[in-house]
């Protein structure tokens, strides 16, 4: 499967500068880029120093709300061109518009039946401008969501302003994301890509920013597979857009020694991936929830009630 990454970040936060720098790195030489620009005439793609054949421009609207179909079609065409031998790439990177909500983009990449089986969602990278980032977070909820959904947060323009307060605020919004700094777009690509859903520090997350709450649900006893399914169903159905992202390792009764790796963006989930073994000595279920206003104690109680019901049905 081809890894696909999404670079998001508010207008002027340095997405194109970052991408342009990354594409000069030999490690990313075989990268196809899909650029989405908001406005009648796209310009950002002209700033990218890469083969024209592997840079595709989506114009005329924001990726998240207008041209999602175009994104899916474009990614499909890239894959088809490669299959015909007309393009050579090992990775796809999407640069969103500054106004884009990444969630529907991720959902489209996870669910479209034409492209999803050929793609592996790698990392979501958010750029945040140290000079204007704080004010942007105050004024634009899209920027908060971009940071909340990211696996990696790249602080840009660190030469223009002190980044410490902004970095702390971003850590409260998304403590699970790795923070990096980029001066004029320079950052080590190995720190941005190949993000794993399983990262131990992810499960130490707990923070509350007023805008976004991140916490880790833990359970020492294994869960029934049906409980897990019902839990995800309840979250998807009853929490609406309050659930931003969920990742976890689940100890399942029916699969001893082989935990389920779960990953969802709002109400869209990957099917659980069954690991061959636990990645560390901790055998407990750990589910990280990034949300807007959901309560950890409520979700912990919800799991217990659902598992009680499932256990009662299993016994009777």
């Amino acid at each position: 499967m081809t890894p696909i990454s999404v670079i998001t970040g508010f207008l002027g936060s340095g997405k194109t500068t970052l991408l342009s720098h990354l594409l000069r790195d030999p490690a990313l030489a075989r990268t196809a880029v899909i650029v989405n620009e908001f406005g009648e005439v796209g310009l950002d793609h002209l700033l990218l120093e890469a083969s024209d054949e592997e840079v595709v421009l989506l114009e005329g609207g924001c990726l998240c709300c207008k041209v999602r179909g175009d994104l899916v079609r474009t990614a499909g065409e890239l894959l088809a061109r490669r299959a015909r031998g007309d393009a050579a790439f090992d990775r796809i990177v999407i640069e969103t518009t500054g106004l884009a909500d990444p969630a529907p983009i991720l959902q489209a990449l996870m669910t479209d039946r034409e492209i999803a089986p050929a793609l592996r969602l790698d990392s979501v990278i958010a750029t945040v401008d140290c000079a204007a980032g704080g004010a942007t977070l105050d004024a634009h909820p899209e920027s908060v969501k971009q940071a909340a959904l990211a696996d990696r947060i790249v602080l840009t323009k660190t030469d223009l302003a002190d980044s410490s307060a902004l970095a702390q605020r971003l850590r409260r919004i998304n403590p699970a994301a790795h923070q990096l700094t980029a001066l004029h777009g320079a950052v080590d690509p190995s720190l941005l890509f190949n993000a794993s859903v399983y990262e131990p520090r992810l499960y130490e997350s707990h923070a509350h920013s007023g805008e976004v709450t991140t916490f880790c649900l833990r359970r020492s006893e294994p869960l029934h597979a049906v409980t897990l399914s019902l839990f995800l169903q309840v979250l998807a159905e009853h929490c609406g857009a309050k659930l931003l992202r969920l990742k976890g390792l689940v100890d399942v009764v029916e699969s001893p020694g082989r935990p389920a790796l779960i990953h969802g963006v709002q109400h869209v989930f990957h099917p659980p991936a069954w690991l061959e073994a636990w990645p560390d000595d901790d055998r407990s279920t750990r589910i990280v929830v990034i949300s807007q206003g959901l309560d950890a104690a409520w979700l912990q109680d919800l799991i217990e009630v659902l598992d009680d019901e499932v256990t009662a049905c299993s016994i009777s």
Binding site: M110, V197, H238, L261, L294, A297, D301, L302
Partner: protein, 91 residues
Amino acid sequence: MSSHKTARLARVLRGALRVWGVAASVEAEAQGGEFILRAPSMTLRIVPGWLVFRDGQLLASHAGLPGLLRTLRQELAPGFANGRLIIGSSL
């Protein structure tokens, strides 16, 4: 139903109401695990099983909590933007 489980279920119901932005109270009966849910315009009585009554009339019956929550949300927060679980491609 034990008092511990009754209290936990009451917390789950209250938590769901908070998520949906519904101002309502949930009172758990000491015996039998019944719940009285008082919203501004209605009172629901929930009997383990789960049977939901409004004004003495049976409104819905469910085998499990997910169905019960669906009925409560539809009754109390019909405007809430609910979702639907979608399973995408493999990791």
